[in-house]
Symmetry: C2
Subunit: 122 residues, 2 copies
Amino acid sequence: MSFNEIANQFVKFYYDTFDSNRSGLAGLYRDNSMLTFETNQIQGAAGISEKLVGLPFQKVVHRISTFDAQPAGPDGSIIVMVTGEILFDEETNPQRYSQTFHLLPEGGSYFVLNDIFRLNYA
Amino acid sequence: MSFNEIANQFVKFYYDTFDSNRSGLAGLYRDNSMLTFETNQIQGAAGISEKLVGLPFQKVVHRISTFDAQPAGPDGSIIVMVTGEILFDEETNPQRYSQTFHLLPEGGSYFVLNDIFRLNYA
């Protein structure tokens, strides 16, 4: 698979899982993974999963606007930047967001070393 | 310097140079660097510099809204995601943008291996 196909599969899995069952994201992270979620920085799979599961909304829907991937080094790692809209709970006005992932190969699959998420306020 | 300080210095230099003298950005890229600028993908310092210098506006001002950095591996590389506003030429309505940089250490300094830029349309 090309880096674009890998990134595309990852992004689809990530947001499908985020929007349906956030606890299913834990397996994407390792002990050296980092998540920046707005102004919070968390290191390690356990803390990241706890943060994601505990986010204060019940229902969430991501809609991707743009999605760009690049190979990020000779080790096969991949960088992905996503921009899109996110709808929380019963809100009807989506908020725009940007998110960057750094994916590292591991035993035929990939894990998330870096994850940076920001809402884009107008 | 911490990764946050390095990223902060880089971001300041990058946008100051972009807004005053785009040709000064060439030295930040190498032959294996990649730029995604909207839907265009370019590899290599020469092509990236040509693309940046040839962008069809004379005056440009970036205003940073958020800026987040993370260490991106044991080699000292750094990932930075910036969101902000950009004003082209005589326009008075800024457009929102997102940009991701992957910085790699090289001889006491850093170069840009990955650069992804997208305007965020509402």
